[in-house]
């Protein structure tokens, strides 16, 4: 009895959408300064690793030229969205009064922000890939 072969779209879902969502959720829980939230964050990151591992080691359809092309388009559009987001954040920081910006706890913001910037592009890429494939 052979192993089930999953669709390529499933691989992208686990590698991008699910993995990215778990990273974002982990980042969200990481904002809170208490042990339960930190544990939840760690568990979510562990699940993200499992999701990624499944995408790498699971049995999937081979990629083909259309899948490669669609993934590249999804990634290019995602890059545009992330650029816009970074520019918006920068504009907001420029507009905000200096004393507010200076008093922000950057140590607490950096960690979840980094996780958001890892997870968000993955989620966008995965969703866009799915949309392009279905068009």
């Amino acid at each position: 009895m052979g192993k089930r072969v999953f669709k390529y779209g499933t691989r992208i879902a686990f590698r991008e959408t699910i993995n990215g969502s778990l990273w974002i959720a982990a980042g969200a829980f990481g904002i809170f300064d208490n042990q339960p939230c930190k544990y939840i964050s760690v568990i979510l990151l562990a699940l993200a690793i499992i999701s990624q591992a499944f995408a790498i080691f699971g049995k999937f359809e081979k990629t083909d030229e259309m899948a490669t092309a669609n993934l590249n388009v999804a990634k290019a559009i995602t890059l545009d969205y992330i650029r816009i987001l970074i520019m918006l954040i920068y504009i907001i920081l420029l507009i905000m009064p200096n004393d507010i910006v200076a008093n922000l706890d950057w140590g607490k913001i950096i960690y979840p922000a980094l996780i958001l910037f890892i997870g968000l592009p993955e989620v966008i890429t995965g969703l866009l890939f799915n949309k392009i494939e279905e068009e």
Binding site: K7, D64, E65, A67, A69, E133
Partner: protein, 76 residues
């Protein structure tokens, strides 16, 4: 932008091939054949030639680009 029209569906039916079978023969996913039949994906030259080889037809007989009616309206 020219519109791609294909006769893959027609030739596939002649050979009694399923989409998945044709996909496997030319090394792509079934979804790619679906999109090709709908004219929603421009194949690489290699893929086009591989498909033509399966059907035993020239590439030009399977794939055709037609002018987009909207383009001719804009130029007028």
């Amino acid at each position: 932008m020219p519109i791609l029209k294909t006769r893959i569906h027609e030739f596939r039916r002649e050979l009694n091939l399923q989409q998945a079978e044709l996909a496997e023969m030319v090394g792509v996913r079934r979804e790619t054949i679906v999109k090709l039949e709908k004219g929603r994906y421009n194949p690489s030259l290699k893929l086009a030639m591989d498909i033509a080889k399966v059907f035993g037809k020239p590439v030009e007989e399977i794939f055709e680009f037609q002018a987009d009616p909207e383009d001719s309206d804009e130029s007028n």
